[in-house]
Symmetry: C2
Subunit: 197 residues, 2 copies
């Protein structure tokens, strides 16, 4: 196989979930049928890797110093949703009608990985809470052990700043079958049952 | 979402098997963790798209006018294996101990798609057979209707040039269960049964 082709296959393996076989299929596909789009991908990727940084206000990915979402004056300034990663932010934006602000931790409290309050920008978050505009802080960290610990810490920050913290509801996912829901989720959903009116 | 980020997600969708969700995951992964490798991918991809062409002898992908395999004097010059695509060539190289030459059709006879003998380089193949060095032509087109039609045509070319054509064996795949083998394969394998000595 040509040197450049095997380099390309190797380079494609930096993509998540792409092993040797898929990388090979991608390389052949681009060479056989999609040279133009392949070139476009190369230039967009180069631009993105060099120019996308983080918004100085919410820490989400942005090529501007303040991202479009933070700069959008039509969004609600009383609500702030705190998420672990830009992916979570994108998921909430796509699934819900939330129109408030965000803050992206870019991680979760995890002392063993060297992730403390400083790495998560919590001083910056406290400053933002202290501005006094925010009334509710929606804590949307992941429902994992570390995510819950982070949520606990964030709730304390909110209380200290006189902001009302809230947390996403836990329970049975829609469209699933009770039989396949894990035990702790089921126990939680059972405990948090509500009366139908 | 930032313009550049949504451009990147859109551009990643040129990869086979990558939809919106995977493209998003890839973009976030590269931005969060693999900027260096992302840049490397961008430059390798650009080089590959611009510089990889086809070998003038076997039509496989190559950035040289004659590929390394054709230029390799230690490979057997009496056998020529004809495949539909560079992927098939790579599969045969990886799986078998074949040490002969190749010819890549870059397609199969398919008049409805405008693929005739000219597009498949069959004149070039005939010239090669006429050189007189080749004794066996292994026809490794796919076992599809079009692949079989192409194999039939290739066999005629071989006969005309006094070269012995051969075809990959059909039968039950190794490691499978008879129960799940499709009918025509099973019928073929049954008909082509051989005596055990």
């Amino acid at each position: 196989m040509s040197k450049l082709l095997s380099d390309l296959i190797e380079a494609l393996r930096c993509l998540p979930g792409v092993g040797n076989k898929s990388a090979q299929r991608m390389a052949f596909h681009l060479l056989e049928r999609e040279r133009e789009r392949g070139l476009k991908l190369a230039s967009t990727l180069e631009q993105a890797m060099r120019r996308i940084g983080h918004c100085s206000r919410c820490r989400n990915f942005s090529e501007e110093s303040v991202c479009a979402l933070c700069a959008n004056s039509s969004r609600d300034r009383q609500a702030l949703c705190v998420v672990e990663s830009p992916t979570d932010l994108a998921a909430i934006e796509q699934a819900t009608g939330y129109r408030g602000q965000y803050f992206v931790l870019l991680g979760r409290l995890s002392p063993l990985d060297g992730l403390g309050p400083e790495e998560l920008g919590l001083a910056q978050l406290s400053e933002r809470l202290a501005e006094g505009e925010i009334e509710e802080m929606i804590i949307a960290t992941n429902p994992t052990v570390e995510g819950e610990a982070t949520a606990h810490y964030l709730a304390q920050l909110a209380h200290a700043a006189g902001v009302r913290p809230s947390r996403l509801a836990h329970g049975v996912p829609l469209g699933g079958e009770l039989e396949y829901v894990d035990r702790s989720t089921l126990a939680h959903a059972f405990g948090s049952r509500h009366t139908l009116s």
